[in-house]
Every structure is written in structure tokens, then in C-alpha cells.
């Protein structure tokens, strides 16, 4: 039996004010910023004040985002919790590692070590909800979130699970950010650039959490149907066009049936050109971008999925996302993301 996979609840904490449920009615401008900071929700609405102080950004933001998604979907009983994260709990990792190096293996405390494991977020959510279900964490660069989505999609469509919480989460830490700036993967502080007409290399690091309740049940709250997801490390034996056309063909779609393509352009001069090849397949589709508003994090595809849900629900596209004149009706959205011409992912969504 093959069921369908619906998104019935969403929650997002990001550099924009996504945590109050609004949809870019007001936009925070990060032009020339060296880092995208999260627009902070009222954490204490969800977490006790003592815990808020102890928790890293990844855990805090994820508790808020997952609570929002679960409240919206009105579910309590989960068959799985699946997260994706690129850098994991890098703040606690860095704290423990600095302690270890700076004090030559002395005076270490266990807390940052305990909280440094990649599955801390998924484990904490399970602990808070006393949820004994399946609990996975994917850590595979920019394909971490698409991996979580694929796992959930397979379980829901095979009817192995009815309701699954999935999320994409990333945080950054100061030394790690400096290292990636040194490497040129992140733009140096005080780089002046225009995201949409960019002349500089590297991207700008960001943080955030986006969570979704997936279910095989179509409800009034349903945002969209997840039709398919696919990802590869490299496009060695094929180009991005073949990769995309083969994916659409497997789903019996032609490019002109896709109303919007949501591109993961991140302002890196060298690698944004990969999107141009992709875009050329969709001359009649709306071209949307989002990382100028949200920055780059390895789990940015989760942010893109959140935006798509909002587009379906409101049947409107905020001007701040569109590279051309926004459409009024949206039936299919295709999200394409890659990081440094690696970790290519496609996520196909349908209006219901």
C-alpha cells in the first residue's frame, strides 16, 4: 500500500520573524552583514528560564520550532522524531574543545561534552515529550535535512508510520566561523556585497531551526504534500539539468508544470552559477530565492520547505523572495539546493 505524505504543522525560528507565524510581511535587512542572527522568539513561553540559560541555540530554537509545529498539527503521539543538522551542536563542541586545549586536559566538566553530540536536539525533544519512538539524526552537510525528509517520506508512504516530526537545525560558534572565513567558505567580516548581483566569494553563515509534522492523513491544517525528495553528493556522471529532468520524469512532471522553483543561491560568486543552469530549464516558472533574507546554513533546505508551505497556504509569494513578477496560483514548487557544487538536493511539493 502506498500512502501520501502531508505536512500538517510547521514551525520556524530564523533570522526573519518567522517565529510569530507571520510571512515576511516585515523584512529584516541583513545586507552586508557578516552574520545572520536569529530573530529571537520568547523562549520562556516554551522553556523554563533556568533551562533557557543552559541550552545552546540549536536546542532552544528547535524546542520552540518543534512545539509550534506540533501545536499546529494538534498531535502528541509521534511515530518518529528525525532531525538533520550540518554542524550539530557546534557551540558545546567548541566550548569543550577550547577547555581541553586551553587547560591542557584539566578542569573539564561533562555538560558541554554531553550536549556536543549531534543527536542532542532529537534526544532532548524525545526527553521533553517522553517520546520513546524512532529517533534519528542525519549529519551529512547540505543533504542532512533532505536525508531526514527522505527517511520520513519512506516511512509515511509505506504506512510504517502515521505521524513523524522532522526538523532541520544549525547553529554557529565563533571560532568555527572564523575558521570557515579563513578557508574562504564564509565571507570575511565587513565584505560589501549585493546578494542578488554578487561579485564576492563565500557565503554568510546563519542559524535557525525549522520543524514539520508529516502525516499520511490529509487534514484541514494541511499545508502541502511532499511528492518526492532526492539528493546526491556529486553530479559526476551527469549535469544538473539531467539530474533535474530525470527526477521530474520519475514523478511524471514536465518543467512547465512547476509553478515555482526555489533556489538555494547563497551569494557565492563561484558556486551560484550552478543555479543558472538549473533555472534555464524553467523559463515559464517563477524563480524564487531566500538566502539573502535567511543567510546560509547547511540545513537551509528546511527553511526553503517552510517558505514553500507558507506559499501554498497563503497562495501568495512575498515580493522579497521573487526574482520576477510573482504568480497568484501555485500548484507545484521545486526546491533545489547545493553547497559549493556538492550536496545537490531536490524537494518536490504539491498544493492540496
Amino acid at each position: 500500500m502506498k500512502g501520501k505524505c502531508y505536512i500538517n504543522g510547521i514551525g520556524c525560528v530564523s533570522p526573519q520573524k518567522t517565529h510569530d507565524g507571520s510571512f515576511l510581511e516585515e523584512v529584516i535587512d541583513f545586507r552586508n552583514a557578516s552574520v545572520y542572527e536569529v530573530s529571537k522568539p520568547d523562549y520562556q513561553k516554551y522553556i523554563s528560564p533556568v533551562s533557557v540559560r543552559r541550552m545552546s541555540s540549536a536546542v532552544k530554537n528547535s524546542i520552540v520550532a518543534s512545539s509550534m509545529a506540533l501545536d499546529e498539527a494538534g498531535v502528541d503521539d509521534l511515530d518518529a522524531i528525525i532531525t538533520g543538522t550540518g554542524f550539530g551542536c557546534i557551540q558545546d563542541s567548541e566550548k569543550f574543545l577550547k577547555g581541553l586545549i586551553d587547560h591542557d586536559e584539566d578542569f573539564l566538566t561533562p555538560t558541554p561534552f554531553i550536549q556536543s553530540t549531534h543527536n542532542t536536539v532529537a534526544g532532548q525533544i524525545a526527553l521533553l515529550r517522553k517520546c520513546r519512538a524512532y529517533n534519528f539524526t542525519y549529519v551529512n552537510g547540505a543533504n542532512s535535512f533532505p536525508s531526514a525528509l527522505l527517511d520520513a517520506l519512506l516511512q509515511i508512504t509505506s504506512m510504517e508510520a502515521n505521524t513523524i516530526l522532522i526538523g532541520g537545525v544549525d547553529e554557529m560558534a565563533p571560532h568555527t566561523r572564523a575558521l570557515f572565513q579563513t578557508l574562504g567558505q564564509f565571507k570575511k567580516n565587513d565584505t560589501e556585497f549585493d546578494y542578488l548581483d554578487n561579485k564576492t566569494e563565500g557565503c554568510t553563515s546563519s542559524e535557525g531551526s525549522a520543524f514539520f509534522v508529516l502525516s499520511n492523513e490529509h487534514m484541514e491544517e494541511t499545508y502541502a504534500e511532499v511528492v518526492d525528495v532526492f539528493f546526491l553528493n556529486n553530479l559526476v556522471s551527469q549535469d544538473v539539468k539531467t539530474f533535474t529532468i530525470e527526477f521530474l520524469t520519475r514523478n511524471n512532471l514536465s518543467p512547465n508544470e512547476v509553478d515555482c522553483v526555489l533556489l538555494g543561491k547563497n551569494g557565492d560568486l563561484t558556486f551560484d552559477v550552478v543555479y543558472d543552469d538549473f533555472s534555464s530549464l524553467f523559463p515559464s516558472s517563477n524563480q524564487l530565492v531566500f538566502k539573502h533574507l535567511f543567510g546560509e546554513m547547511l540545513t537551509a533546505p528546511a527553511i526553503a520547505l517552510w517558505l514553500s508551505c507558507k506559499i501554498f497556504k497563503t497562495q501568495s509569494i512575498p515580493k522579497s523572495l521573487a526574482l520576477d513578477v510573482p504568480r497568484s496560483s501555485v500548484n507545484y514548487i521545486l526546491i533545489y539546493n547545493q553547497y559549493r557544487n556538492s550536496d545537490h538536493s531536490l524537494m518536490l511539493l504539491k498544493n492540496v
Binding site: 550539530g88 549531534h118 520513546r132 516511512q155 570557515f180 578557508l183 556529486n234 547547511l298
Partner: protein, 399 residues
Amino acid sequence: MAKIAISGMGIVSSIGMNVEENFNSLVQKRHGISRLEHIESKLNNSIFVGEIKLSNKELEAQLGLDQAHNFSRTAMLGAIAAQQALKSAELTTEGDQLLGFVNSTSVGGMDMTERFFYEFLISDEYQRFIELQNTGVNSKNISDFLGICGISTTISTACSSAANAIILGARLIDSGRLERVLVGGTDALCKFTINGFNTLMILSDDLNAPFDNNRKGLNLGEGAAYLVLESEKSLQNRGKQAIAYLSGYANTNDAFHQTASSEAGDGAYLAMQKALKKAELTPTQIDYVNVHGTATPNNDLSEGRALIRIFGDCVPDFSSTKAFTGHTLAAAASIEAVFSILALQNQVIFPNLNFREKMIEFDLVPVTATQDAKLYHVLSNSFGFGGNCSSLIFSKHGE
């Protein structure tokens, strides 16, 4: 579910650099626990570890990596074991988009990050290792080295990671997304984890003694192991036979504490119960349990109680092989999957070393000598931080 065929395997650990060496060490009761040598740590003389006695240079040479490579030790160990697994399955990767890779690791590139953390900023000599903090790059190095071009991903759920990689692999085969998938895990020893476990005060200053009343904690280890999972259709087309089957699996969460296991082993109990259900087996059909058995006071008590809840008075023969290899974290479950398959292939149970005295809490005595046995179904447990609990059931070919 349809049973998933296993068509190949590879392993490196402190008791051997391939399947045969590991098997010989197991049956001859030769453990790989020693003092830490290749890392300079304040703990060198106070702890024991399951260390692979090959330097990074020797591993590089074995893989034929060029000078400019950016493999962590974790990735090098992984690449060696993964290469063996593909070879034993007689598979080539070129152009095979239905051959995927599900890796797992908890250490990732930490061994390199901790060496050059500040130096990275002042010298460009080692900067190519910076991006290993993006854990996925370590897996990508392995899959690029092997030329894998299908779906590739990485799981990190602490000490149960590799079991979960095996579970996802099974799902990818079951759903028809892949026909062949390399699954498993790899972790190298590093100061970060050694000190982390030390702050938790669960490292033994002696050889680890799973399920012993006087057990003092675990020895960390390093290693990697991979299985090739394959659809029946693919095996038939290639004219190959399975070496064993994955017949059941489950992952659950203890939802008790970030690092400790619940007293009654709730998560472990549920994982075993669900795996049995998936395999459509009754507890009495399990012939041997390769327990998680880390030799920490908490794990062995909790796991023992969960075993009794599942099996009642008839707990099958069981042993922990961590006294041989140490606890290899993300790699543990795939290393023990290889051991479980070796047990089925050779109809032998591997001994639980260093056991002297039964725990006072219950009447559980592990197998302590290499023992011939009729084995059809073997259960393997792996539990980790974040309450993560996984159970896998391996079955003999033809059962």
C-alpha cells in the same frame, strides 16, 4: 518485511585489519586492549583503549592517498573497511546509481580539528582539514574514494549510529530506492572523546569486564565496519548468494536521560521487542545475543534488566565483544554486526572476556569460552547518548 540480504562485509579494529584477522582473534580470545600510543594525552597511563596500532602515515600508505589529501583518521579507517566490504560483495561502483552509501560517525573530523584548532588560523599548512568539521565531508571523502554515485548520507546518533545506518540501508532497499547499499560506521580515537568520557567518569583504569559484578567502566576503542545490503533481485541478477540476512530491526528512545539508561531499560526493551516483531520471530527463536555490554555499571544493569523483560527465565547465550575491541562508539554496531554474521557463518559464540563474578542484581552469566552452537538468529544491541536504542536481528542464510 522482506528479509534483506547481506552480500559482503569489511572491518578494521584493534583485533585485526580485516574479517579473517578479527575472527581469529575472537576465537583465540586475543583482545586488542592496550595503552594509548598514537595520541599524546594526560590520560595515556591511566586508561586502556582498543587502539589500531597503525599511524596515520601507515593508513595513508595503505589507501594510496596523495600528500594533499584531507582524510581524517576516522575517514581513513572507514575507507579501508568499506573497500573490503565492496570487494567481498564483488561489487564495482562505477556508474551504479543504485548503489548507495549510508555512513555513520560521531567523531567525524574531530581528530584533526583538535590537533590544529588554533594553528589553522595562523598557518595554511593544514587548512584543508578545517572543512572536516562539516561531518558530511568525512563521509564524502570515503564515498568519493570508492567512486560511489548513488544516494549517500550520514547518521550520527552516538553509540548506536552504525545500527541506524544499517536500518536506513534496509529501508532504502525495501522501498526500491536502491538495489545495493554500503552501510556501517567509523570512529577514530581522539582526545575529545577520551576526555569527554573521562569527565563522565565511566572509563575503566583496567581491562573492561562486561556484565561482571566488579566492572569499572568502558575502554574506548577505534575502528570501522561496513556491510553490503542487497535486494534479492540484484543478488539473483548477479548470480550471488547472501552470506546472511538482516531479518529485523528497530530503533527507539529511552526518553529518560541525555546520557544514562533507565533503570528498567525501557528503550532497550522496546527496541528488542519491535525488532522481534519486525522479524516475525518469538524470543525463544533467538539463539545468541551480542549485547551492547559496554561494562559501565549503568549500561550492563539496564540492558540486563531489559533482557530479562524480553526473555524471562530463558535468556539466550549472550556475550559482549567490547572486551576485545573496546567501545568503538559510532562503529560499534557495525563491528558487532560483522561479529554476529561471523557467529552465524561459523556456528560459534564468541567469549565475553574478563568476566569473573555474576552481577548481584540478576542471574545472568555470559558465555566466557569460544563455544560451538547451533545458531539461526542472532540479536545485536546498540545503545547511545540521547536515549538512542537499536536492535538488529541477523539470520542464517537459508533460514
